[in-house]
């Protein structure tokens, strides 16, 4: 009998996926976004593997264009602790902020199931604040990366047929103090693309938050829009988990 029922599921007039059109399409959109981010991270992996790795001990590590940098030596700063070596602490904080905003998002969805407008409002607001806090951290991280270290990196180049020594501070799309140029390019590209997702997530969350306040979903009788935007927001968190591992840890 089980096979008959399974066949009937697909014979029309049913919902074989048991999910609404909007939710299903959000899932498939996120799947396509997964491919985009995978492509970016795989590109990082491939370019990284094509450069020599630093094979000395971490304490003696210095920036050089000769090998790929160790991420923990690049990302070791924390606001208001200038010059203190705090490897990956700030990134850890950013990870914590994003996971927490994912938690408040689930709580908003859960409150939506109970049609509790006040609680959905409260948790959506916390989610938005978490997203803004993350973006603030990223702005700081980028600024630090662009401005660079105190000492910089001394490079030699040919200007008008003469070898000239010059010090490079920080990184942009043309120069990079920390290591080979693609390292900086990929940093801006991957964290930038993720940051754009966070930014659009905050904007979408805000629109939903506004609709909750004016009672759109209360009149509609369900808070499924909160679930859909929740899927997107968790995906942003999911991508960060991968960026964290492949950009900062490995």
């Amino acid at each position: 009998m089980a096979t008959t029922t399974a066949k009937l599921d697909w014979s029309g007039g049913n919902k074989p996926f048991n999910a609404s059109y909007g939710k299903l399409m959000m899932w498939f959109f996120l799947m396509s976004d997964t491919f985009t981010f995978s492509a970016l991270l795989v590109t990082y992996g491939m370019i990284r593997f094509s450069y020599p790795a630093y094979d000395g001990i971490a304490e003696n590590f210095v920036f050089s264009h000769e090998y790929w940098p160790i991420p923990e030596m690049v990302f070791d700063a924390f606001p208001f602790f200038h010059g203190v070596h705090l490897p990956l602490v700030f990134v850890g904080l950013m990870t914590f902020i994003l996971i927490m905003s994912s938690v408040t998002m689930v709580l908003a969805v859960e409150a939506g199931h109970r049609n509790s407008k006040e609680e959905v409002q409260k948790w959506m607001l916390w989610t938005i604040l978490g997203g803004i806090a993350f973006l603030g951290c990223q702005a700081w991280e980028w600024t630090h990366f662009i401005v660079g270290s105190d000492s910089g990196l001394s490079v030699k180049e040919i200007v008008n047929g003469e070898w000239v020594s010059r010090t490079v501070f920080g990184a942009n799309l043309a120069e990079n103090e920390y290591g080979p140029q693609p390292f900086a390019d990929l940093f801006f590209f991957i964290t930038g693309f993720h940051g754009t997702h966070v930014l659009s997530g905050v904007v979408i969350n805000y629109i939903i938050f506004y609709n909750v306040i004016i009672g759109t979903y209360e009149r509609r009788g369900h808070y499924e829009m909160v679930e859909k935007v929740g899927l997107y927001w968790h995906f942003v968190d999911l991508v960060w988990v991968f960026v964290f591992t492949f950009f900062y840890l490995v």
């Binding site: 492509a39 491939m46 938690v103 968190d237 999911l238």
Partner: protein
């Protein structure tokens, strides 16, 4: 939410919230382990990378399964999302092998 069918709505909601916090705790704990391993000297690089990839997949499974609720959707939806990920696995393996051969 699997065993909440015979609970009252309030109890089911409380159980769900407890589960959310438990999941968050697991995610924080796994991240802490990753940090600890990143700063433990003497672990071979390949092993470190393997551990990081494994733990990242654990975290991803919790986020997608619990937070995004995929674990509780119908089977056909779960497979519709998971099976295309084969292409990602293929992409990773193919390009890392190619990258290792560049300038070699």
């Amino acid at each position: 939410m699997a065993d909440t069918t015979n609970l009252s709505p309030e109890e089911a909601s409380k159980a769900h919230i407890r589960k959310v916090w438990k999941t968050a705790g697991i995610l924080a704990f796994v991240t802490a382990i990753e940090f600890a391993i990143a700063f433990t000297p003497g672990i071979p690089r390949t092993l470190k990378v393997a551990i990081f990839v494994g733990l990242t997949i654990v975290k991803a499974a919790y986020i997608v399964g619990e937070f995004m609720h995929l674990k509780y959707e119908v089977k056909i939806l779960i497979w519709s999302i998971l099976i295309p990920m084969i292409f990602v696995v293929w992409l990773i393996i193919a390009l890392l092998v190619e990258g290792g051969s560049m300038y070699a």
